[in-house]
């Protein structure tokens, strides 16, 4: 099955994406359509509080489906500016719009160079299509 991998996003091998606002140094973090599909029916989401700090490569929350539970990894060091409270209420909605409405957290990044090793859409697509 083919999924969307928007060109304007950066990707981690753990299936999170980062949408970067370079001017404001704000990174919107979500998980990819591929990952959402692999998880199946999502039933539970755990996200940090606004103001919490997150660390690059470290867990900032968990996502749980009937099938599995997975850690969520932050792409950058920084602090949480916003979290998607609507999604916490109905985590199953993540399947509808993972790159849009169903973002997870917005992080004020300390340093955008944290994303230097992140993958482009093409690189990420190659990785996951290779998995399939």
């Amino acid at each position: 099955m083919a999924f969307d991998y928007p060109e304007d996003l950066q990707y981690l091998d753990t299936h999170e994406y980062a949408r970067v606002d370079e001017e404001e140094k704000i990174v919107t973090v979500g998980i990819t359509a591929f990952a959402v599909d692999q998880m199946g029916d999502v039933v539970f989401l755990e996200l940090p509080e606004v103001g919490d700090s997150v660390e690059k490569g470290e867990n900032f929350g968990t996502i749980e489906s009937v099938k599995a539970v997975e850690d969520l990894k932050s792409p950058v060091n920084g602090s949480v500016l916003e979290r998607n409270d609507a999604l916490l209420e109905s985590p199953e909605d993540i399947a509808n719009d993972p790159y849009g409405e169903a973002w997870l957290i917005k992080v004020k990044a300390d340093d955008l160079s944290d994303l230097d090793e992140a993958m482009s859409a093409a690189e990420y697509e190659e990785q996951v299509e290779g998995d399939a």
């Binding site: 029916d41 749980e64 985590p91 199953e92």
Partner: protein, 365 residues
């Protein structure tokens, strides 16, 4: 990775976009559309499951039932032609070797004809155990690979299946009864049994007939369902899964299967001494139903705590699609195995409250 076995429906399921998973040495569909949708189809209409991986044995002989009786704690004397008994094979310690269904298929030329349907992962173990304990007067045939097995489950399952077998009156068959007849012209074994908590049938047909039968079921609008929904359905119905909730070290009295143990009717069976002792002195742990208030799932092997102390273990857990909250099965000491008892589950370093709940979590109307 060891090669996985494939059922006769493997190819057709792949064409239907099934996502496959390894299960007990078989490559099986885990999901077609989504677990939630498949689950709902079975609760409100009808779903079909490929369960051809399950073990199927045919036993024949003048006293098969009497010989099987030595291996199970349930009274088989009330078993007559067309009837079935869910029961367990026990080891000397009273532990469950497997849970299975014994189908009485009548007497031919003085030989009792018995079909056993057992779990996929235990097929070889059961076969070894049975062959070691049954005398040579019993002919034992493993037809696991010769026959396909399809479960058709849900409130509309029976009426839909009936459309494919006009010669047989399967709608009139009581629960846990079975008959042999024709399905689309193929010889078929229809059993009104299942593992979902809904009405329905488990149908055994020769391997050659499997795809044709499956296609016809799909044509009738029956939803293809995978092992994912099978697990959420059986858990809501609080049915044990072998290898997870029950195993060689758990006895039926511990596992809430006391209703299968007829000590006053069956004088002698393997494991009886241990069960007698447990009946007299009580068991050290009991399988209970648990519900959780949040949305976290208590999964297999998570610790159960009481006042900060580890007191038991979760054996199965899921998010119940019908009820909208997480449910689980787990073992607790008898003093805590009481409805409304509060305990805690350790989930990834934190503890969450859980309440002992009457089983089953869900009962069909």
């Amino acid at each position: 990775m060891p090669l996985l076995l494939r059922t006769p429906l493997h190819t057709v399921c792949l064409k239907q976009k099934a996502r496959m998973t390894g299960f007990s040495g078989w490559e099986m569909p885990v999901q077609f559309s989504s677990i939630r949708q498949e689950h709902e189809a079975v609760r409100t209409s009808a779903g079909a499951f490929d369960i051809s991986h399950m073990g199927k044995f045919i036993l024949a002989g003048p006293d098969v039932i009497a010989q099987l009786q030595k291996l199970v704690p349930s009274d088989l004397s009330r078993l007559s032609e067309g009837k079935a008994q869910y029961t367990v094979l026990l080891n000397e310690q009273g532990g469950i070797i497997d849970d299975l269904i014994v189908y009485h298929q009548g007497i031919t030329n003085g030989n009792q004809q018995i079909t056993l349907i057992v779990n996929a992962g235990t097929t070889d173990k059961d076969k070894t155990w049975l062959q070691a304990h049954l005398s040579e007067s019993v002919s034992f045939t493993d037809v696991s690979r010769r026959n396909a097995l399809i479960a058709v489950q849900g409130p509309k399952a029976t009426e839909k299946l009936q459309q494919l077998c006009a010669e047989e009156n399967i709608q009139a068959l009581p629960r846990y009864n079975h008959l042999t007849g024709k399905l689309l012209g193929y010889p078929a074994f229809f059993a009104r049994t299942g593992y979902t908590g809904e009405d329905g049938f488990e149908v055994m047909v020769p391997v050659d007939a499997a795809v044709a039968v499956w296609q016809k079921l799909m044509d009738l609008g029956i939803a293809p369902c995978g092992l994912g929904a099978r697990d959420t359905l059986r858990l809501e119905a609080s049915m044990a899964l072998y290898g997870q909730d029950i195993n060689d070290t758990t006895t039926p009295l511990e596992a809430g299967l006391g209703w299968l143990v007829h000590l006053d009717k069956v004088d002698d069976f393997v494991g009886r001494a241990v069960l007698e002792q447990q009946k007299a002195n009580g068991v050290a742990r009991k399988l209970v139903g648990l519900t959780l208030a949040g949305r976290n799932i208590a999964r297999h092997d998570y610790d159960l705590l009481s006042e900060g102390q580890s007191v038991g273990i979760v054996t199965s857990g899921t998010f119940s699609p019908t009820l909208g909250y997480p449910v689980a099965l787990g073992y607790l000491p008898p003093n805590l195995a009481k409805v409304d008892q509060r305990v805690e589950v350790a989930i990834r370093g934190k503890t969450f409250p859980a309440t002992v709940t009457k089983r089953p979590f869900y009962k069909s109307k």
